[in-house]
Amino acid sequence: MTILKDFLLKELRKNRTLLCIGFLLTLVIASMACTLVFQTSMRISFLKWNLVWHYRTVFWHGWLETFFISVMALMLSCFFGTAIATIQRSSIKLLRFAMLLVIEIIRGTPLLTQILFFFYVVAHGIGLQNRLITGIFILSFFSSVYIAELIRASIEVIPKTQWESAKAIGLTTFQTYWYVIIPQALRPLLPSLAGQLASLIKDSSLLSIIGISELTLAAQQVNATTYCTLESFFPLALGYLILTLPISLGSRLLERKLKV
């Protein structure tokens, strides 16, 4: 079995046509599955889009909330991520160690656990009542740790000779980062950063657990009232795609622009 798998993988890597056929095959199977689902639901009852249409404002408000949470968390996590990456490169050993500990704790626990812990323990402890702000902060912290690791990795791949060269022509540390390191680090960073930001948007759906009325909670509410499962959750998926697709497209464009 493993021999067959290895062989197939090798062939796939070698042959792009095979890859295309594989992709097409997946597409065909997926569309067949979709048709089947549609047909079944059609047979049981006609799709009640009109019923769900009635709740369009619920979806719209949920989507807006998700959009707001995502944008805020995106900005905050980029800011915290840069801060963590900077601390990790600091010359104070204790600071680096403390940061490493925080990173390991956040990376080693599920986001859902963190949401519950921070909301019910930390936020309640410090008297933070606003669910939305708490949610945004939890999501930002979680994501910033991953972003910091991406930043660290993309800085580390830059050859030492570049630092040396910058030093030799008389640049300060800040100038070295600004004119030499960051422009070079951006190219390997962008695709992975876009991936991380897209998953942040998707992860925001977990905030429904603490009652933030974002898109997922809205869809759940519509489903609970109308019992129209497909009609409730289809807009949910679409709503997330509207947010994530521009990010991956934008990153691809930027990547091409920044090509050396």
Binding site: E164, K167, I169, G170, Q184, L258
Partner: protein, 250 residues
């Protein structure tokens, strides 16, 4: 130009083992244009050059350049490095910038010169070094020799007090080597003193005024080029010259 080093000590820690490069290095050398640092690999030439470039800090000792002592605290070194030019073994250009932008960077960022003036100066410099045709190319589009010439232009653009070359041709093909060596020889016209670490013995012979020969962290021999090559004082130097000659001719 005069360079004087007194009781220099420098060591490195490699795999938790301390390697002493210089235990007590002292010399004084005066030259007009070019000083060549010769010697076997691992003899300490590059480290000495890096100390002169303000990129390494010796453990003990002092270095004086034209009577002025180099202060090895980080803040003073930052200003000191602005006054000198360094060309490394690998071209070390910034890959995201074009040749012109690479040459402009020390002017616009370090000297805070206006963009238009810096551009004009950089274009003139590239023209002088016959690189105008390549000024809008990025480093990966340049040949090794062209890249190294742009690196020389970047080091020259600030009109440094002196220029340091760390084996500038050792990573190049033979044809490109001659292109870069020719340029270095022409730099005499700029009247900027140069210190050159090189394995190109014939080139050092033609181009340098003074030679320092280092082995195992000590100065074995030093003197004017003419004298140095014709009358090697030590057996070690004589063997070194013979081995390189044999190598060069093979």
């Amino acid at each position: 130009m005069n360079i004087t080093a007194t009781h220099l000590k420098k060591s490195f820690t490699i795999n938790k083992k301390i390697k002493i490069l210089f235990s007590d290095l002292s010399f004084s050398v005066t030259f007009d244009h070019v000083l060549a640092l010769l010697g076997q690999s691992g003899g300490g030439k590059t480290t000495l050059l890096r100390i002169l470039a303000g990129l390494e800090i010796p453990k003990h000792g002092s270095v004086m350049v034209d009577g002025e002592s180099i202060s090895f605290d980080p803040h003073s070194l930052y200003y000191y490095r602005q006054k000198i030019g360094v060309v490394f073994q690998q071209q070390n250009l910034f890959p995201h910038l074009t040749a012109l932008e690479n040459v402009m960077l020390p002017l616009t960022v370090v000297q805070r010169m206006k963009h238009s003036i810096a551009k004009k100066k950089a274009e003139e410099m590239l023209e002088q070094l016959q690189l105008t045709a390549h000024q809008h190319q990025k480093p990966h589009q340049l040949s090794g020799g062209q890249g190294q010439r742009v690196a020389i232009a970047r080091a020259l653009i600030t009109r440094p007090q002196f220029l340091l070359f760390d084996e500038p041709t050792s990573s190049l093909d033979p044809e490109m080597k001659s292109e870069v060596l020719e340029l270095i020889a022409q730099l005499r016209t700029f009247r900027i003193p140069m210190v050159l670490v090189t394995h190109e013995i014939e080139f050092a012979r033609k181009c340098a005024d003074q030679v320092l020969f280092l082995a195992e962290g000590k100065i074995i021999d030093q003197g004017s080029t003419k004298h140095f090559f014709t009358h090697p004082k030590t057996e070690e130097l004589r063997r070194f010259l013979e081995s390189t000659r044999a190598f060069n001719h093979s």
